[in-house]
Symmetry: C2
Subunit: 217 residues, 2 copies
């Protein structure tokens, strides 16, 4: 190479920059393939070939095939956790979680687009929901996130999570409803952020009434 006397890298030298480029290329190519021809119909070899690296290199960037799929999902989930952290402590736990979700959806674009185009993420989420193997992993990851959130809530309320079951119980109920909303959104035909935002809000409104034992009111 003759050009590139001065590496423009954001953090560190040329080496770091090349790594970021490779990772980014693998990520985008993979998601593009997954969303067009399906997750299971896409082999790791195809992804690696498209980016002109060896299969072995793919596995040095991503622990396994699934990891690519959840790279974007990860950003979205931490965005919610951050939003929850910023909720004033005066809000009750349930109110805080509810408002955190809604505010997270409102600001997801700026957080996500540097990682991956938002529409590509949306399509990826639909792939997750419709691919059994991915859905399974997604649910396990959600369970881990749930535990994390429960600890956050316990802290907020100054409770010992091992002594008081309410944090875990409240979070379980909350994320259960979220999952139902996410599932229906995945099946529906409006893959927009606004759509899932509204669906979520609506379903959360029904949690209280649904737990009352007499539904004929």
């Amino acid at each position: 190479m003759t050009v590139e006397q001065r590496p423009i890298a954001s953090a560190g030298g040329l080496r770091e920059l090349k790594k970021q480029r490779t990772r980014d290329a693998l990520l985008r190519v993979a998601l593009e393939l997954f969303t067009t021809k399906g997750y299971e119909q896409t082999t790791v070899d195809e992804i690696a070939d498209a980016v002109d690296v060896s299969q072995r290199t793919f596995f040095r960037y991503f622990a396994n095939k699934e990891a690519v799929v959840f790279a974007a999902q990860d950003t979205v989930e931490w965005h919610f956790v951050d939003a929850l952290r910023e909720r004033p402590s005066a809000e009750g736990p349930f109110t805080a979680m509810r408002r955190a979700v809604l505010s997270a959806w409102d600001t997801i674009e700026e957080r996500l687009s540097p990682v991956v185009p938002v529409t590509l993420y949306m399509r990826t989420y639909q792939v997750i929901e419709s691919t059994p193997a991915l859905l399974a992993v997604h649910l396990r990851r959600s369970a881990e996130l749930e535990e994390h959130i429960a600890r956050l809530i316990a802290e907020r309320e100054g409770l010992d999570i091992d002594a008081d079951p309410r944090p875990r119980v409240a979070v379980a109920a909350f994320t259960g409803v979220m999952r139902v909303a996410g599932g229906l959104w995945g099946q529906g035909e409006d893959p927009s952020v606004a759509a899932i935002r509204e669906l979520t809000a609506g379903y959360l409104d029904h949690l209280g009434p649904a737990l009352a034992d007499d539904w004929r009111a």
Copy 2:
């Protein structure tokens, strides 16, 4: 073979009996290996060899390695669904689910022991909870079961499940709490039916209070 002039098979001839025997042997050997040396440390070849069949035959009885693990779990889950079906329609949805779970645990022994010894099932459940790959599948299966239960509840209450969100929401909250209890039981040191029964009941009691937005009451 010279003996066995008269096949004792319950349903059908000798062929059917041999099949049942093989399936049963594969199931028990597999669970025994999984619980002693771990799921991922056990290869399908080992299981097949221990039963003196080829690997190919194993895959004719079980769709994949996981399927063995969930054979017993399946029985337990349907036992709960049956218990729910038997709840008088006068009971509200939440009461019905709660009582169904408790009554299901009370009668699990007779239902399960023909399939697999109860203690072996208990140990298997701990393997599921502690093996990421299995936990993922377990959670996806639970989600399917959840949908099934939601439809049952909707029927009970004479509601259209696509119009009224309450069935899915209530079931999501309910099973969310169940999962928390199951997880803690898996980590705990008392692997008895009684233990999980009590843990479940206790956690369900906390669902109402946990959803109130002010926990300082």
